[in-house]
Symmetry: C2
Amino acid sequence: MQFSFSDKVKDMKPSAIREIFKSLTDPSVISFAAGNPAAESFPIEQMSQISSDIFTNNAVPALQYSITEGYTPLRTQISNRLASKFCIDIAANETIITTGGQQGIDLTAKCLCNEGDTVICENPSFIGALNAFRSYNIHLVGVELEDDGMNIEQLEKALNENKNTKLIYTIPTFQNPAGITASLEKRKAVYTLAKKYGVVILEDNPYGELRFAGEEIPTIKSIDTDNIVVYCSSLSKILSAGMRIGYLCGPAQIIQKVVVTKQVNDVHTNIFFQMLCSEFIDRYGLDDHVAKIKNLYLKKSSLMLDMLDNNMPEWTHYTRPQGGLFIWCTLPDKYDGDEFARFAAANKVAVVPGSTFCPTQGEHSSSFRLNYSTPSDEQIVIGIERLSEIVKSLNK
Amino acid sequence: MQFSFSDKVKDMKPSAIREIFKSLTDPSVISFAAGNPAAESFPIEQMSQISSDIFTNNAVPALQYSITEGYTPLRTQISNRLASKFCIDIAANETIITTGGQQGIDLTAKCLCNEGDTVICENPSFIGALNAFRSYNIHLVGVELEDDGMNIEQLEKALNENKNTKLIYTIPTFQNPAGITASLEKRKAVYTLAKKYGVVILEDNPYGELRFAGEEIPTIKSIDTDNIVVYCSSLSKILSAGMRIGYLCGPAQIIQKVVVTKQVNDVHTNIFFQMLCSEFIDRYGLDDHVAKIKNLYLKKSSLMLDMLDNNMPEWTHYTRPQGGLFIWCTLPDKYDGDEFARFAAANKVAVVPGSTFCPTQGEHSSSFRLNYSTPSDEQIVIGIERLSEIVKSLNK
């Protein structure tokens, strides 16, 4: 039988990154293509002890069906953390635990957008979010990402031209893939426009805890006097990515609808690990552990930047992140990022081509993304030397 | 701001069952409303030992991002189990691990159905599936469930009248809520019609391992010579419901599309528990453990049936399940199941009203669902006595 797929998904293809991830079995390839937290960032010993304690003292609730909203103590802890760390004042019942941050994005889109509705996002932007929007047949409009955040004129133009815009999707802090952090002015400008046009903002902040340089900038959610911002994050980059614990917080009316939608999506998120995270926060807090990760990523990003500074020809450009996991490199416009990534892979360095992150498929990009959290220091040194040779060979 | 929700979800309400579940905090209420596996069915000690071993020997892969398809050894084990236990011959790469069986249903619907397309299902049917279909604005057509499965004439009529039918959703074995098992003849008839009309079958078999009486009947997937059946199940009723480990298997073309859709839904299912389940199956197999659960449910269902036989007035009807978790009670048609459930709750017994399981919302039902896996023996005895008094009081 020839199967016919829904209009929503019929053109969907596997994410280039996850495909790269699957093919990285050749040990001679150095990969800067992942978006994984460093293996050293997992607090294995503490998690192991807590896990053992849950099995001893509280096993049945940890293995039985639970409520869709998530483990109540964890929701309270997240609400408290958002208040103390990000000046976000949100009640515990305005949060929901999701199966990773990804599910928070997926369900927000499902709840707010009909097929054909528009989501405005940064160009480039997070491929997982773009593909989630595509999977609901949502129309994507990209707005150029400048050094201090979205181009505000382009954003207003996009809002004017797309009256069916339901959502502005933005990663203001340590953006993926670009590593850029939006200024407070730009954040306020985005917020003002969202209010003016009656559009919800989905603020994605998976890396917000990981600032290793520069000054904190308030989240958009923290200036959300009109309650129009849905805020999405996770514990993936702090405790463990594989456990799939994320959260969403926002207007009660939207969260309630997300709860109903999650109920039919996966009933609830793995409850054992929700309890484990809650107990971790209870026993140790997050500050000490996060400080270790920040220290690690400061070292790794500095090493990669030093290597780039010392080896790359001066006609390449790259961002200097103050947090997060990524550096964004741009070649002169005449080069094609896709071709370059293939060429680099053939020469044993994996990077993610910039076109992957374009809201419009098939768009030209001469950029590529580098990740410094996953490779070892030695891999960073050898890999960037290797990559620089490849870049230099282009100009011959 | 007044939020506008998508057409898909705007009319969605929380599942009555999950709401009942949340409100069951009054310890004086005896609940037959849950669908939970018995707490005694969780192999806590073995899981605890395996968990500890994973943290000691294999922690990083268990906490890091993983592939969307699922943990490869577990997919192979599931493929082997389906072959040995259910005569289902499917390659490991035609399976995907899902976040509970629920996600398998949700993603299958998303991949195959546009808004307005029809899914034909049994009436009554599993509320979680019905609401998943509704969340994609799918048109539901119910087919009467008889003592031996779907009414085949009604099924053909529904197929004829709804040319946009994309899926027949069926729970042939120990149906939820009705506890009914379809005969082999009916299974073959459903399959023949699906072939004739070019429609995919989604066979949901979450309770298939739990036969405690009668003879095994082949799954529809096992007679699927034309490869048009997607088969959905989980480890929720065997190892743990709260861990959210399910699986889907079917035509490679469909599974590939489900993989892409899952990638943007939650990236992958909690990998730690995938590894834990795999290691459990490796060390202990499933047979011994499943035998214990079947023994437990045989006892509990027999106790509930004995209590019903001895206490209910003869004008009530109830099914006699050979497996699974549920008994389906039907009052004379003049009674309203919703009213009855409220009346019973006021008298300290919780049941789920039949209308909850109707594909058409607001449909009359004089039935209600009883669960015997969750309550203790004492609760079954007292609760059914209490329920019988409530039923008897109706006829005064």
